[in-house]
Symmetry: C2
Subunit: 201 residues, 2 copies
């Protein structure tokens, strides 16, 4: 959404982005179930009707929030991993993520909340994990063939472990950011999992 | 709390256990911030006053819920790890955990929610992670000395990775229990992290 556009479409896009930003902060603080459209509207000095005009339901707004939280930097991951391997690409991603702890908190909270099958984001997260693991497994297979990854196990299993380490170390860092260096912890964990050749010098 | 005791103390203990069980299900479904003492009381057909008599605040009740979720099986972990090593003890724990997905969902949800510094369980989780990692690091050092763990890295760092794998694989399993075998995933992850000698034949 470019701010340089004019007219009603640009205004509507800007308004939608504002609502998504406000919903991100409300859902981060209270969870999806604890947050309300009313509170999101109030933060922006908007009427509830005006929020509902852009997002007809709370669950539609949640999906917009998740898409916006998740999409950032996905493209550069693909380029980095083809160029310098999975471990390098993951670390670049982690380096960018430490700049946005609130977004990570929201994703961690929504992932846990959505594990209940009746949660409106359940399918979104199920699919997201499935796709992420499949994408990583393909990249890891290539790294194995190129001699970058020493672990000879089925790349799908390695990808599950990699995503788990990522989620888990991120959670430890969110809980105690002062004590932990997330990038250093992730670097060591990647070298344990993928072998010493997995990171460029 | 034994059900064979009689008299007012036993009755009060039973009532407290009922309130903790009801709070566990309410917080699992709605998060801490989305759940209310009123709803917990209603589930048990109790008055709000009667709940407040046992737990003066929602945060006091949350701590009781977390203690009860967490304490189960902690003792056998210590015995298992001294006897057969950390990897075996972790797997035994995971085998018992797959029997209680709701409790795991609650812990995952509360951990993510509590990462916000103003959350009433923030300090509880910060301390819990710190103590768990310290306890695992001690046991891993012993396993290294006894030749069970091949990974030569600082055991504190290995312990952080171990907890991360555990949290992360559990989350993937909660999100998609039909597709994933948590015990098998954890077994492979432990062998990658600790080496092939880490599990008894």
């Amino acid at each position: 959404m470019s701010d340089t556009r004019r007219g009603p479409y640009a205004k509507s896009a800007r308004r939608q982005a504002e609502i998504v930003a406000s919903a991100t902060s409300v859902f981060s603080a209270r969870g999806y179930r604890g947050g309300s459209l009313r509170e999101i509207a109030k933060q922006l000095d908007l009427s509830l009707t005006s929020v509902v005009h852009h997002f007809p339901s709370k669950s539609a707004l949640l999906v917009a929030v998740l898409e916006s939280a998740d999409s950032a930097h996905a493209d550069s991951f693909q380029a980095d991993s083809q160029d310098k391997g999975v471990a390098y690409a993951v670390l670049q991603y982690v380096r960018r993520n430490v700049e946005r702890p609130e977004m990570l908190r929201l994703l961690a909270l929504m992932a846990a909340e959505s594990s209940a099958p009746d949660h409106p984001a359940h399918e979104w997260f199920r699919t997201r994990y499935e796709q992420t693991i499949r994408m990583l497994a393909l990249a890891l297979r290539r790294d194995q063939q190129e001699g970058r990854v020493a672990n000879p196990r089925d790349p799908h299993g390695i990808a599950e472990s990699l995503v788990a380490l990522w989620d888990g170390l991120q959670l430890q860092w969110l809980i105690d950011p002062g004590r932990r260096d997330l990038v250093a912890a992730m670097t060591s964990a990647l070298q344990d999992l993928l072998g010493p050749q997995s990171l460029p010098e």
